[in-house]
Symmetry: D2
Subunit: 303 residues, 4 copies
Amino acid sequence: MKNYQKLKGLVAATFTPMYPNGDIHYAVIGQYAQHIVDSGISGVFVCGTTGEFTSLTTEERKQILEHWVKAARGRFKVIAHVGSDNQRESVKLSRHAAETGAWGVGSIAPGFFKPASVRDLIGFFKPVAAAAPELPFYYYNMPSMTGVSLSVAQFLQEGKQEIPNLAGVKYTHNNLMEMGDCIHLDDGAFEVLHGYDEMLVCGLALGAVAGVGSTYNYSPSVYLNIMKAMEEGDLASARAFQMQSIEIVKVIIKYGGGVRGGKAIMNLIGIECGGCRLPIAPFEKEEYDSLRKDLKEIGFWGK
Amino acid sequence: MKNYQKLKGLVAATFTPMYPNGDIHYAVIGQYAQHIVDSGISGVFVCGTTGEFTSLTTEERKQILEHWVKAARGRFKVIAHVGSDNQRESVKLSRHAAETGAWGVGSIAPGFFKPASVRDLIGFFKPVAAAAPELPFYYYNMPSMTGVSLSVAQFLQEGKQEIPNLAGVKYTHNNLMEMGDCIHLDDGAFEVLHGYDEMLVCGLALGAVAGVGSTYNYSPSVYLNIMKAMEEGDLASARAFQMQSIEIVKVIIKYGGGVRGGKAIMNLIGIECGGCRLPIAPFEKEEYDSLRKDLKEIGFWGK
Amino acid sequence: MKNYQKLKGLVAATFTPMYPNGDIHYAVIGQYAQHIVDSGISGVFVCGTTGEFTSLTTEERKQILEHWVKAARGRFKVIAHVGSDNQRESVKLSRHAAETGAWGVGSIAPGFFKPASVRDLIGFFKPVAAAAPELPFYYYNMPSMTGVSLSVAQFLQEGKQEIPNLAGVKYTHNNLMEMGDCIHLDDGAFEVLHGYDEMLVCGLALGAVAGVGSTYNYSPSVYLNIMKAMEEGDLASARAFQMQSIEIVKVIIKYGGGVRGGKAIMNLIGIECGGCRLPIAPFEKEEYDSLRKDLKEIGFWGK
Amino acid sequence: MKNYQKLKGLVAATFTPMYPNGDIHYAVIGQYAQHIVDSGISGVFVCGTTGEFTSLTTEERKQILEHWVKAARGRFKVIAHVGSDNQRESVKLSRHAAETGAWGVGSIAPGFFKPASVRDLIGFFKPVAAAAPELPFYYYNMPSMTGVSLSVAQFLQEGKQEIPNLAGVKYTHNNLMEMGDCIHLDDGAFEVLHGYDEMLVCGLALGAVAGVGSTYNYSPSVYLNIMKAMEEGDLASARAFQMQSIEIVKVIIKYGGGVRGGKAIMNLIGIECGGCRLPIAPFEKEEYDSLRKDLKEIGFWGK
C-alpha cells in the first residue's frame, strides 16, 4: 500500500451555505475558507452529514467541492465526501473529486439497503475508491445514521486487499473499544479519524491524532487546546476544554442537533450558512434569540 | 378533497430489470407488463423499495416509469414512487410522473435526516404532492427501512389540510392497530394499502381492500385467492392460501429478502430481471439451484 | 406427547388487587372470580405481566394463585404464570402451581440475562415444566418486554423433544407471519394463544382459537363478539368490534399502558384492584376524572 | 448531604462461586477475598450483573454478602448491589446490607417495568436508599441491560433532593458525553464510577477516579497500571495497557461475554467460581482448551 501523508489535527465537517429559498450560496465559501485558515484547522470534509449531502443533487455536490478546492488554495486539505446509496453516483463523485484536486475522498456506507456483510461493503466501495486511485480513501463509519454495524477492523483488514488506497476510517460511533482496536490494527497501519467532538479526549487517549467534527467550525480553539493539552500530557486542562465542548454540544442537541443547531451558530458568528433543507425544520426567529442566550450562558462568546 | 377512484385489489411493487453489468434492461418491461395483465393484477408501484429506487439515478427512474406507462396501455394502474431523501429530486420526479401519465404517485419518508415531527414530514411532502396536483398522493410508510416512526393517523389528518391530493397510505409496518385506526379514520376517508404480503388476511380482516406487494409479481393467484375468500367470508380458505404465502416469504427471507430473493424468482419464472445492484449482493449460480429446490418443496410450481 | 384439552376462547390476564399501601388485597379475588364467570371468560392467566409478577415476591405469587384456584371452583381454567429470571424460583412456582390445582402453567423467557439460543431457552424451561409434569406448559413469548427474539417455531419443535408437556405458546408479538407459522406447525400440534387484544381479528384470521389479554377483564363482550363473528365468517361485524377494542387500547396507552391504565379501569367498573407498585407510577385523582371522560367518549359505558 | 469518603481506585464486580450443580460455593469467598487484597483492588461490588444477581434468591444474596463482609475484614470496601425489579425485595436487601456491615449499596434500575420518568426512578429508589441511611447509595446505570435510558444528570440532581445518601453513579454506558457531564455536575458533587473496563482511559480522561469492572478480577495489574499512568499524564503507557485490556475483552466477548467468559477465566487462574446458572449456557470442556489458547496468544499469562 502506498504511504499516504498521515492526517493530523482537526478537520471541519463543513456546512453547506444556503439562501433563504434553499439554493446553494456558493459565494460564502470563500469567506468560510478564510475562516478555516484563520482558525488553525487542518482540513475540511465537504458534503458529509454536516453538509446535508443527502439533500443535495449530484451537480450541487460537485460545484460545492469545486468552490472549496478553489478557495482552499492549498492552505488546508479538502476531503470530498462522495457517499451515496447509489453506487454509480458515488463513483462519479469520486472521479470528479480526483479531477477537481481534492486531497482525499471519504464515503459513508449505503443505509437504505444495508450491506449484509463486510464483503458486500468492500464490493460497494471498491469502484468508488478506484475512481480516485491516487487519493486516500476513508470509510466514514456512522452506524447511528446508517444502521450499518459491520466490524470496522474486519473491513479495514479485508478491504485493504482490494482497495489499495484505503487509508483509514472516520470513526463516528461510541464503540471506543473498537475504535482503539482499529487504531492499533496492523501496527497502526490505518488512520482513525475521531468523529464525536464531545468525547475527543477519549479518542486521543486511545491514540487518535486527528478528528473530523462539525463543532470545530465555530469552536476551533476549544479543540486545538484539547489537542495541545493531550500532547503535553496535561489531562486536567484537556478535560476542562472538553467540558466546554460538552456544554456546546448540549446546546446544539437542544436545537435539533449538529446540523440544524450548528448551522444557526455559523450564522451567529458571521458565516452566512442560512438554514437547512427539509426534512430538517427551518430555524425560527425566536430560536435565534434563545440560542444566543444559551451560548452566552455557557461562555461561548468569552467571558 | 377530490374524490379519487378508490384503489382496489392487488398492486405489484415491480422489480427493476437489469443486465448482468447492472444497466437497466428496459426491453423487459413490455413482457413484464403483459405478465401483470395476465395475472389479474390491478396496478404496479414502480421504483419503490422492490425496484431498488435508492440505487437508481433520477434519469433512470424517469425512463423506467415512461416504459411502464407506455407498456401498461391503460390496462392497469401505474403508480410512480417518487420518494428520495432529496426533496428537490422528489419534486422533479413527481412532476415527471404527472407529465408521463402515471395514475398516481407515492413517496417514502426521508430516512437519513429524519423528520422530527409530523409537521416536518408534511412540509417535506407538500411540494412533492403539489407537483402532481391531479394525481392521488400516497404516503409510503415503512419504518423498518426509514426509521421514521411518526403517527400515520396524525399525518393523514393534518396532512389533508395542506396536501389536497393526499389519498392515503401504503402501510408497510406491523403495527396493525394503527393500520386499523387509519382505515377507519374520518369514516374511511383514506385509502390504506396493505403492505406486508405475508399477513394480507390480517389487513383485509381490518378492512383494507387493496395491497401493494412484491410477491404478487410471481404468486398472484395466491393473493387473488386470499382476496376472494375474504370477500366471501371464507376464512378457512383465505388462511390456507395465506399459509402458502408465508411459505414463499420464508423462502425469500432465506435468500436475503424480498428484493434479492424475489428478483431471483422472477428470473426463474421467465421474466428476466437479472440481479440487484450493490450493496445487495449478487445471486450466485448455486443459489439458483438451491432456490429452485426450495420452491419445489413448498409446491410453488404446483403439485 | 399427551393430548391436552385444547384451550379455546378468552383467557383474562388478571390484575393483582392491591391496597393503597401496596399490600396484596386478596379478599377482592372472590368477587373478581365471579366477574370472570359472569363475563363468559374461559380462563385466567395469573401473575403475568398484567399481574405485575416482577413486582411480587415468590410467597405473594403463591398466595395469589391459591386464592384464584379456590375462587374459580372449577368454573374456569386457572393458568399460573411461573416465569422469573431466576430459574430456581420458577421451578418452585411451577411445583406449587401443580400442587395447588392450577389447570396449566406458563412462563416468560428470562430477560436480564437473555438465552443466547433456542437450546439455552429449552434448557432453562425444562426443569420448570418438569416440576408440573401433568399440566400443559405454555411459553409466554413477549419480545417487547424481554428483548428475547428467538424463533418460536424452532423452540416449539425442538422443545417438544425435551419438554413432553409443552402445549404451545402465548404469542404476544406483532410478527404475525411467525404466529401463523406456529399455528400450522406440525399440522396444528401446538396451541397458539393470541396475545395482542387490539389485533385479535388478525390472529383469528390466521387460525388462532384462543386469546390471552388484559382488556378482556373489563371489555369481555367486545371480544366475545369478535370471536363469534369470526366463527360465522362475518368479517364486517368482527371488524366493527375490533375497532371498539382499538379505541379502548388507545385510551389505556394514553394512561401509561395496559397495566397502569387497565388497573384504573378495573377500579372504575367496581373491581377494586387499587394502584400499581412502583416503578409503575401511582394513578392520580385527576387522572381518574379524565379517564372516565375518555371512556365515555368512546362509548365504553354503552350508548 | 453528608460528606462520604470518596471512592478511588478499582472496584471488582465479583463473580458468584458455584458448585457444578449450581449451588453457591460460599467457601471460595475467603480465598477470593485474599486474591482481592493481593491484587491491590480497593473494593468489591457484590451480586451485581457479574454476580448473576437475577439468578439468585434473596436469601442467597444475603448470605453471599455476609461472606464477603466477613472475608474482607476491613481490608477493602464491600458494596452490596441490592437492585431488583421488586422494590420490596430491594428494600430488604438494602437494610440487610446496612446491618451486615457493607460499606455502601448500589442499585440498578428495574428493567421489566421501566420507570417512565426520572421522578418514578427516584420514587422507586427512595425507600431502598432509606433502608441503609448511613451508607452511600450508588445508582447503577446500565441501559444495555435494563433498557432504561433516563437522564443520569437529571436523576442525580433531582434525586439528591429526596435521597440524602445518594453518592453517585456506577456508569456502565457508552454515552461518555453524559458521563463527563455527570462528573462535573455541581462542581463534582457526585462520584461517577467508570463501568466499561475496555475504555477505562476514556473515563479517566474525562475525570473519573474510580472504576467498577469484572475484568479487574483477573487482570488487576493492567488496570492499576492504567490508573497510575493516567495520574502521571503518561498517555502512551496508559494506552498500551488499555490495548491489553481490549484484547482481553475481545476474548471474553468471544466466549459469551463478561459473566460467562470471565467466570471461566477465574477458574483458570485458580479461583474456583464454577459455571453460570441458566440461561447463561454451561462452559464446555473444549471451550476451556480454546480459551486457554486464546489467552496465551494475547500474552495473558505473561511473556
